[in-house]
């Protein structure tokens, strides 16, 4: 896969961190990591979650199927779902 058109998993993770950095109104007590739980650790509410998904779509120019999110709990779960979509769409 060419690295110019495709985004790596790390790029996706970085974009999610960037999004949270910008949008979380309250700093969580623990530093944010890939293992941070979206609700328990970050206090993300449902509309913020939706907003994050649509933001990631806009950034990576993909449409993320909603059923990829059926068992997503942490930041890395989100990153994996998004990365999978990017790869599928590039194929």
């Amino acid at each position: 896969m060419s690295s110019t058109s495709a985004h790596h998993y790390e790029d996706v993770l970085a974009k999610i961190f960037e999004y949270l950095e910008e949008h979380l109104t309250q700093r969580p007590r623990e530093p944010i990591t890939a293992q941070s739980h979206l609700i328990r650790d970050l206090g993300l509410d449902s509309l913020q979650s939706f907003e994050m998904v649509s933001d990631l779509e806009d950034h990576f120019h993909v449409v993320i199927p909603m059923d990829l999110f059926q068992n997503v709990e942490t930041i890395e779960d989100v990153a994996r779902a998004v990365h999978k979509t990017i790869q599928a769409e590039a194929a």
């Binding site: 109104t25 309250q26 609700i39 328990r40 970050l42 449902s46 939706f50 998904v53 997503v72 709990e73």
Partner: protein
């Protein structure tokens, strides 16, 4: 020509129109699929024949768990054509976390006494356990397997559908273990549809766009049944999750479809103001929109105003916004504001509201803004009564009661709660409101009212104030009053989820003081106890509606905030779908968040 007296007769009549019908959009990158009324009629006939082949007899209940909107519509009409009673049940949001879902579904299927369930291949595997937990349930099958039992042109045999037959059961939240099945006949539905059509001026030239779930009354009756009865040009259904992910889709489709009618709860109008980017609105033209209805949860004047202001540039006429009040027990709609009327709200003095009077507030007084929901329909009656059931004059706050052909038959197989709701020839709504110049203003729910020293407080007001405090998870606050033997008055509690844990005890104390001060300043009420909780600690129904009575119970038992918290097990999809889904199971017009 006589208008049809049953929904099935209405569909048979609409089936003459091959070019009109419904479109279904479930993926952003795929075109919507179109099903004409004629095709709907043929598909419903086949579903009816399939149900008969499965052994479903007239009067039996059939559970429908079908995420696909077209399949759902085929089967609800199929059930009617087979003389059976459809029981729409919301599909699971998250296939990985289905224990709570199954428990809820079991209660509904038991209460309805379903003998069959029609579902799809994705949901089917998780429903296996139901066969043993629901007595009388003979079969759980997929739609595809069911219709494969009969040829494509199959028709049901020997069923006559009458106006007084039960058309379907609309289950409303209540408590999970005792769901309430609102029983509606074809006559109920045709009466309310006639009222809706008159109020909104629906005709065969109308067209609509809806992302509302079809297992909820506003989506099903408002956008499936009413359009069929009026043989409207077309309706476009957008998947609800698609809307929540990208609200602009709703607006873009309204524009593309040149839709004349749409409806949504208050929060959806808020989302379109805050979350839609200008770049997503290129070319969007809402000038064809005649009715943008708003109901199903408390209506905020500011939210609708802001929507009207932003979308004026896209051709939206402010008078298209049409607040309404309704509830499943009254089929769907109770009141509409008149078409082409401007939005209207009253500033009511908070102090007078606490005493049950709705007095206009002076400019500098604490005030609550209450939106006008309009009048009820010809042939229907609405009144406001006090706690003793005596009618109240205008501007006095009391319970809203209803009478007329749209009132339900009762709750299915629940004589006790049916008798509570239908008393002395009136339907008790459980909602509080007042009349002004003959028009209805809705204030809150009766049973949630907090009464301290003879003054009334609406928990929604306390919750809204607490949500204003930085650090509190907006919309995740529950306020309630408890009878306290020693105080001689209600003990007032506010339970609030925090966005993130407080640094230390001192920070927690500061937050408590801020919440206390906010409520005191706005409502002149001192809260007795403020409970701060981790995200996801407050109990919610499976559809995400905050459960005030359950919260009260947990608090009384000392369990609030003591468990691990349900959030730890939530998958994102369920979470995504959860907290703003209040309106789905809340009866139309009941309280939202």
């Amino acid at each position: 020509m006589q208008p049809p007296k049953t929904l099935t007769a209405a569909l048979a009549a609409a089936a003459r129109r091959e070019a009109a019908g419904f479109s279904h959009l479930s993926h952003e990158r795929q075109p919507a699929s179109f099903v004409s009324y004629a095709a709907m009629w043929r598909r419903a006939q086949r579903c009816a024949a399939a149900m008969q082949a499965l052994g479903v007899r007239p009067g039996e209940r059939v559970g429908l768990i079908l995420p696909d909107s077209a399949e759902f519509i085929d089967n609800i009409f199929g059930a009617m054509l087979a003389g059976a009673i459809a029981v729409p049940i919301y599909p699971p949001m998250n296939l990985g976390q289905f224990d709570a879902y199954l428990a809820n579904t079991t209660h509904i299927l038991r209460q309805a006494g379903c003998s069959a369930v029609i579902t799809d291949a994705k949901v089917r595997p998780i429903l296996g356990k139901l066969m043993t937990s629901v007595p009388g349930l003979r079969t759980i099958t997929t739609h595809a397997d069911a219709i494969a039992l009969v040829p494509e042109a199959a028709e049901p045999a020997g069923v006559v559908v009458r106006p007084d037959d039960i058309a379907f059961l609309q289950f409303t939240s209540g408590s999970t273990s005792r769901p309430k099945g609102v029983t509606l006949t074809h006559a109920n539905l045709m009466a309310n549809i006639a009222a809706i059509g008159g109020g909104l001026n629906i005709s065969s030239e109308s067209s609509g766009v809806s992302w509302l779930p079809l297992y909820h009354d506003m989506g099903l009756i408002g956008f499936v049944f009413a359009p069929i009865a009026y043989e409207t040009r077309g309706i476009l259904f957008i998947s609800p999750l698609l809307f929540l992910k990208r609200p602009a889709i709703w607006l873009r489709q309204l524009s593309e479809f040149k839709a004349s009618i749409t409806f949504a709860p208050n929060f959806a109008y808020g989302l379109c103001t805050t979350r839609v980017k200008d770049s997503e609105l290129e070319g969007v033209d809402l000038s064809a929109l005649q009715v943008a209805g708003c109901g199903a949860e408390p209506i905020q004047h500011g939210t609708l105003r802001a929507f009207a202001d932003r979308y004026a540039a896209h051709g939206l006429r402010p008078s298209a916004l049409l607040p309404c009040y309704g509830m499943a027990e009254h089929t769907l709609a109770v009141t509409f504001v008149g078409r082409e009327e401007e939005l209207k709200a009253e500033r009511v003095a908070a102090a007078s509201l606490a005493e049950g009077h709705a007095r206009p507030a002076s400019p500098d007084a604490q005030a609550v803004e209450v939106v006008c929901c309009g009048r009820t329909f010809p042939g229907h009656a609405l009144r406001i009564v006090d706690a003793a059931g005596q009618p109240l004059p205008e501007r006095e706050v009391g319970q809203i009661e209803l009478q007329g052909p749209s009132v339900m038959q009762g709750y299915y197989h629940d004589p006790e709660r049916s008798a509570e709701a239908l008393h002395g020839g009136w339907l008790k709504t459980g909602d509080l409101g007042y009349l002004s110049a003959g028009e209805l203003y809705v204030c809150g729910r009766v049973k949630d009212l907090i009464i301290v020293n003879g003054r009334n407080y609406y928990p929604q007001d306390l919750e809204w104030q607490a949500s204003q405090v930085e650090g509190v998870r907006r919309g995740n606050v529950v306020a309630f009053g408890l009878q306290h033997p020693d105080l001689g008055r209600e003990y007032v509690v506010v339970a609030a989820e925090l966005r993130a844990p407080a640094e230390d005890a001192a920070a927690e104390e500061t937050l408590r003081q801020q919440i206390q001060a906010q409520i005191l300043a706005a409502l002149s009420l001192r809260v007795d106890e403020i409970v701060l909780l981790a995200p996801g600690s407050l109990p919610k129904t499976s559809s995400g509606k905050l459960q005030r009575s359950k919260t009260t119970e947990m608090f009384a038992e000392g369990k609030l905030g003591k468990s691990g918290g349900p959030a730890s097990k939530l998958g994102l999809l369920k979470h995504l779908a959860a907290s703003r889904w209040n309106f789905i199971k809340a009866s139309f017009g009941g309280r939202g968040e």
